[in-house]
Subunit: 229 residues, 2 copies
Amino acid sequence: MRAAFHEQLDEISDLLAEMAIAAGAAMNQATQALLNADLAAAEAVISGDDHLDELTSEVERRCYDTAALQQPVATDLRIVIGSLRISSSLERMGDLAVHVAKQARLRYPNSSIPNELRATFARMGALADAITAKTATVITTKDVSLGPDIERYDAEMDHLHRELFTVVLSPSWAHGVESAIDATLLSRYYERYADHAVSIARRVMHVVTGEPYADTQLLIEGGSTVQGS
Amino acid sequence: MRAAFHEQLDEISDLLAEMAIAAGAAMNQATQALLNADLAAAEAVISGDDHLDELTSEVERRCYDTAALQQPVATDLRIVIGSLRISSSLERMGDLAVHVAKQARLRYPNSSIPNELRATFARMGALADAITAKTATVITTKDVSLGPDIERYDAEMDHLHRELFTVVLSPSWAHGVESAIDATLLSRYYERYADHAVSIARRVMHVVTGEPYADTQLLIEGGSTVQGS
């Protein structure tokens, strides 16, 4: 009974890792759609989101079944409930990739972003890749020592998001209001994407340590801590 | 034992209703801060968010305890897990009120919004009030017949959000890029706030009906249905 139970939890964990990889692939492809005004890539992200929604439902169904049949307590209960929360965050990360793709599609065949912001969004895309890869690893290995890496990626994403405001509000911005709004919303989608990755890492840490989630912090190297968002 | 259990579930439901009322009060005060450039109101929303975060932790603690000690199945299990999800949405609604208040504070003593958008944001604030009141009632009464009202408020919020783009992108927009970005982000906060209310109503319906959450729809009067976002 216990062996079967832990097998079920492992399967749920595998599904969550699969979701993280799917969300990461979607955001990667959305970034390509954005940077290259690639309509086919945008459409692929938009139509591919159903798969992530199905995985969310599958995780939810398995968590309910496991909770009802196995009556977990303590750490096992935290794993089941934590998995539901993590699947919600991953589903939302997929939605944010769709938002990016829809923005690329909206302006096609033009680009949604002017040349001077290409490097910013390329870096945001790379950070989304990196934070997703770490998140998938945290889900699979429960290695919470990766928390500081995830925090660092998130901090850089926040920094790029704040910098972007400076660019679109500078007197030299020559692309008008629409382009400034496009860039701001896109930047916010990447920033929220990284927030969800932080939230997942905190959730895994909560499962592992048993600390209340609200108090769970991802340690930054050097001893200081920052509160995840 | 069962009586004590149902008392615990009722207490959790009361806490969720209290959270909904707190989130609604926060968004109402944030709207006042925004419309009247009222710094004290903005500060009150920002500092008051701790209370909502504490309530979230309290709901989480009680749901864990109830799940561990009472080992619920079927509808009771859905109530416990649904309550956790609902508390996450309510906490996020409070965060969105804080975003609105911070925007009002950022531009103080100026207004964040030009006169021609006052009516739009006043209406968005009124819709946020209305959707929160219905959501609190759905949480307390489990009366899912209120779903269509919530959908209708959300549809009007989406409509205002789309209309706002037309205003800030029109050739007659005389307030520059910064003001257009402020208005767009603010409008998105209200729109996401309403999305969370829809998500809560769908969650309650899922608890009541037992349908998979992904397939749960809030019926629109006249027989057609729309998928909640």
